[in-house]
Homo-oligomer: 335 residues x 4
């Protein structure tokens, strides 16, 4: 069977055993940001295609779309070291430090383009998005104007938008209305990791409540070694607010984030929960969680991208309720 439509990418050249389902309706994805999260996403897709492995995959299929049914057709970055390079080369450029997975990565056939800095370049980006179905906005948090410029470009190009940053897009009623009216999906804001600190912390606090214990105090310490972490440490306000949303209790105290370069793309969290049980007796819970941070992002992005593509194809615009468990600040959250 011919592979007419995917000719932009070299996946179809792989032997059939490795990736037999190269069909005409792969999702055409554009990404903003060629950082660790994009590296984990791209490598993870290739890993799955090469091995068939479903290890760590949340949903093998989303609306009929498999993990491998995604082709990157455009990528934007700001760094000189990445722009102009093939995507499969750019994902390994410093400060990226997500590890190289055990998978072959022939050239992607996608050259990283210069990203936009402000709204004067919306038109150029909109043009470059032609042919894409979903724009994954995976740049650093804390640049709301940039986020809005890309959202504008997506609207003009008729592309679904996934906002993984904590900058307000989907939870801004004006943006949500515009995407709804255009029949374009808008998923955001602020990615919840597939298995991160907030997910675990919230689950434990919920369990405590379900079982009738009384929360006394709790803290959370987050340590990481990625550039994303460094940005958060230097620019903590955006994230701090989002974090509070994520756990949702005023008895939970957040220690300052710690940027520890030697952790590379790993993240370590220390959680503590002090509670009281029947008769006022003490209950203590101490947790150490170690995850790969970009992998946790990619494991969620893979589902959001497919949800957005499926909704786009079936004409559903705006926010999708089924994305709720993947997002820390969905529409309805205070800005």
């Amino acid at each position: 069977m011919a592979c007419l439509d995917s000719s932009l990418t070299p996946w179809c050249l792989l032997p059939a055993r490795a990736y037999p389902s190269c069909v005409i309706n792969n999702v055409k994805l554009a990404v903003v940001g060629v950082g660790n999260n994009t590296s984990a996403l791209v490598q993870g897709i290739a890993f799955h295609r090469g091995t068939g492995s479903l290890v760590g995959v949340h949903r093998p299929e989303v609306a009929g779309l498999a993990v491998g049914d995604i082709d990157v057709v455009a990528a934007f970055a700001l760094s000189d070291g990445k722009v102009g390079k093939d995507l499969h080369e750019a994902i390994f450029v410093a400060p990226n430090n997500f590890p190289r997975l055990d998978v072959e990565l022939p050239p992607a056939g996608v050259t990283v383009q210069a990203g936009l800095v402000d709204s004067t370049e919306v038109e150029r980006v909109a043009h470059a998005l032609e042919g894409a179905e979903v724009l994954l906005y995976s740049a650093p948090s804390g640049r709301p104007e940039t986020a809005h410029a890309y959202a504008e470009a997506a609207l003009r190009a008729g592309v679904a938008f996934v906002n993984t940053t904590s900058d307000a897009v989907a939870r801004e009623p004006l943006w949500l209305t515009r995407f709804e009216e255009a029949g374009l999906p808008l998923l955001g804001d602020d990615l919840a990791s597939q298995f991160g600190t907030s997910v675990v912390h919230r689950a434990l606090l919920r369990l405590l409540e379900e079982r009738g214990l009384t929360l006394v105090s709790s803290y959370q310490v987050n340590l990481g070694g990625t550039e994303d972490f460094r940005n958060l440490v230097e620019n903590p306000n955006t994230k701090a607010r989002s974090k509070l949303n994520a756990v949702g209790s005023d008895k939970v105290q957040m220690a300052p984030l710690g940027y520890l370069p030697h952790l590379r793309s790993q993240k370590i969290a220390h959680l503590n929960v002090e509670a009281q049980g029947w008769g006022g007796t003490a209950v203590s819970l101490d947790v150490r969680l170690k995850v790969d941070d970009p992998s946790g992002a990619a494991g969620v992005n893979i589902d959001l991208i497919r949800m957005a593509a499926a909704a786009l194809r079936s004409g559903r615009g705006g926010y999708l309720a089924e994305a709720a468990s993947y997002l820390k600040s969905p529409p309805g959250t205070a800005i």
Copy 2:
């Protein structure tokens, strides 16, 4: 308002402020076993009555019954040091080591009776159960014949039966049928702690699955200092099987239980979960949980007792589905 029916106990003599709701329909409870769990139950009820505190209370009301609406009317034990003593004295006799809560405990007016050893004494116990509504079977696990003899006595006396041990009663179809036919509630088997190792371990494994991670391995270490723990260590088979039911994965390895007397009534668990996320990257979760073990049992018993009493009063016999989250081996579990 007169307190006609509760005259067996001295609660009504407390000042109204301390316990105003002394009404005619308090649950009349008989307990088998005057160990730590009974100590925590009795002291916790008094603590609640004395302070009004709902700290650590799962359900303030169960079918209209408050935490304080329970009067112990009979208690059975085997140890010479406890039989013949007032209940409020017997709960502090060694090897009991649940701490003395900060609450006054005037004599209970209930003298601990000699428990039965085998079925020859069923009649005596059935007689002693007259006037009781619920029999809480809170003896050490591993004596199925004793459990069955008390169940028999409850049937004869028309009393609901709550089996907190891992010995099979409620999950034995024959016993369940007999209680159903008699219109008597039968709740069991094997109490799940209000917030114990199994509850936390299961919640974490469920979360892992919900988020799409792949479990690689897991272990659980349990350390405790109660007599109950010592029995389990010396007689591990019963519990081991029940534990496996409780977590429900063959990738979870249970380390042998450790009896560490200095922990007294506290229990410490170390849990580890190793998993793989997107792209096969490693996820590690290490948990240390410290709880008061008898308190965790009492916090569940307080609900089971009220469920059983309410069901008895409304004529519902047999097992109650709403008890499921409190029990490790409910009916339907392999014996």
Copy 3:
């Protein structure tokens, strides 16, 4: 035997059983700072006098001086809430949050005086120090001029000086020389806790080295709830440098300090050490340490005070080598 010389304090009025050794040569101590550390020191001395307990006491005797052989004769503070109050009342004024130990504290007979702010008041303080033997400088770190003004006052009054802050005094050659020449002991700088993060971290790294393992990486997270901690968080430079001295390896990364008010006077540290053993295999060490911070300071101050007093009495001025294990930045450390 009469208690001629200690008539300034009411200790001698305690029954002989409680504190029989009230003799004429108690150390006369002045303290700067009536914070948690002073509270822990004063209460701990009273606890020891009242109970005879040597729990947590490093050295029952230092040069013949027992733990109880210390009388506070003067105290200085800046806060309006403390100045003018009896010392035993002032130690419980917020933001102090060291717990009230289980010991009776009759009025100390020492009224807290207004501390100095700059060098214009050195004369007043020097005058107030008359009769004292040791000045314990236990104010917040980060105010070197204040530290120097008190050191000046101590010199003028002929009093030994103990600097518990990270501000440079003893490690400044000029100050050290002046105290040496005056025959006055000068102990500092920067108190090492009796059992704090640095002590444990350093011991583990030393052990690693002794056994021949190769350190790969290490981190340290410190969380606390005292005012002292809040000052460090808001003014991190002073401490950060001192911390680096304390552990002494460039492979150790320090996460930012976390001020978590609910911890009150407790401090929690998370340490991690990653190393390699024979054949390059991995060794991991994770530690959680929970201590009472002011207690750790007082447990060291009690020895430094007695060392300083004994040296003063025997005419030894300047730094004392036997204080080395109690100090993070002794003379010779870079300023």
Copy 4:
């Protein structure tokens, strides 16, 4: 330069870069037991020779002998799967589960011989030991007669003996005297890991004492996945006694060992220390230690072998005081 004396092994065939120091006086080592510890020793030596790496090496030189200056000349095992195989093949036979290090292992040229079961075969083994200088007894603990038979063979063959098991040899005065009189070194008993639970636990308790804290309670949990661990779990008496020697405090409680196969050659320990500081305030220390168990043994054996060889060559018989930090039950320990 010719490599006259080491012709029994193929090391000399390696390129000079990889192992230039192939000289005539390499230590000639015989090993009893071809388990994980031997695998770690043999692979670690090859790793060092191949890479020059000193990672995890305690002492680069012992009496002039480098890590690579050891040639295995004889090996004894009991398992059918190992006897008759080349040593470099036998070390990977199940139940061995020490990982394969990243190093090439050409055939060792040493065929594993059948070990002895009782004293009837001493003569055969003594004969096979001819040409060896050190016999490393690295069989499972709990078979004192076997240990004694090999010690006897070593005596007859004039070979130094290193006993890594907890079976009493060096701490039995009769054996010690016989080796002393023969001028043969005897090092034992019971190997202390290079960085194991006991070493860390003891260091922390010592630190506690040095700083003047009062120990309240402590526990230790050990989990492992090796065959050695399984033997200990099934035959706990020998080790339990040895463990108590190793930590040396009656306030330390040992939880039962847990055999968790999925850990393979890794060992995990959970340590807890509860103490009191100044004023009786609480100090808690929780440690999780993860090591590779056979690597920890090999990292010590490499030193003991060289000490024994050097002593043999210089005519020093009996026990060597410099081995003390490597052994849990040296001479003088109760049997």
